[in-house]
Symmetry: C2
Amino acid sequence: MTETQTADLMIANDAYYKAFESLSMDGMKGCWAQSKDDFCAHPGWEILRGWDEVRASWCAIFENTGYMRVQITDVAVTVNGDSGWVSCIENIYTVADNRTFHSQVSAVNIFINTAAGWKICAHHASALSNMEIEDEDPFTEN
Amino acid sequence: MTETQTADLMIANDAYYKAFESLSMDGMKGCWAQSKDDFCAHPGWEILRGWDEVRASWCAIFENTGYMRVQITDVAVTVNGDSGWVSCIENIYTVADNRTFHSQVSAVNIFINTAAGWKICAHHASALSNMEIEDEDPFTEN
């Protein structure tokens, strides 16, 4: 895999997390392959198959989330031809009732290289920990 | 993707689960790419990176497991060039103290097509449920 391929894949992965934390369905739509082969397993959920099911799940999540920031750590990228995958830890910060929660989720995102660039076709995530934290959301400007 | 590619990938995926339920390190070794890019997230575990860490985890799991059968359901296969991935539900039956336990795990397995055939390079699994069941292990011959 070339450095350019890896960099392009990371840009696509970053765009996915930007859409995620921005609660943006337009952004999310632009990131996905939008195919019948797409699948998505949110932490603890059954596997959702096909873009229609995946899209509906993001709509429901976004409608029920007020504020979220996601910082990814422990990132590894592999490119193999026109396929690539990113594994990482998602550090998810949410705020509710003036309390900040931090959950850690391990995730793998699979991408395919299309005429329109790298598009995510699979997301599989599992919870590692959930805790309330004392500090302010580290992503909020003071 | 052709039917042959899909069939070959399913054979590699079946071999992986055969090695898993047989508690066979030789079998498991033959299934993996054995690369520094391999990674594995067992349910609730941190992401293990590189074949050395992945191999050590399977050794530990196999040493601490007496009997296991794995039946996969809800299987979907995608082949994209020399990459492929299988998502499925792992129905895992274990027996301890004459009691049978059934856990359901959702998993995604990523494979690369090498000179030696399809090899798994990533396994990401997350627990869906755990329960004790009344029935005998359905895989035991009466």
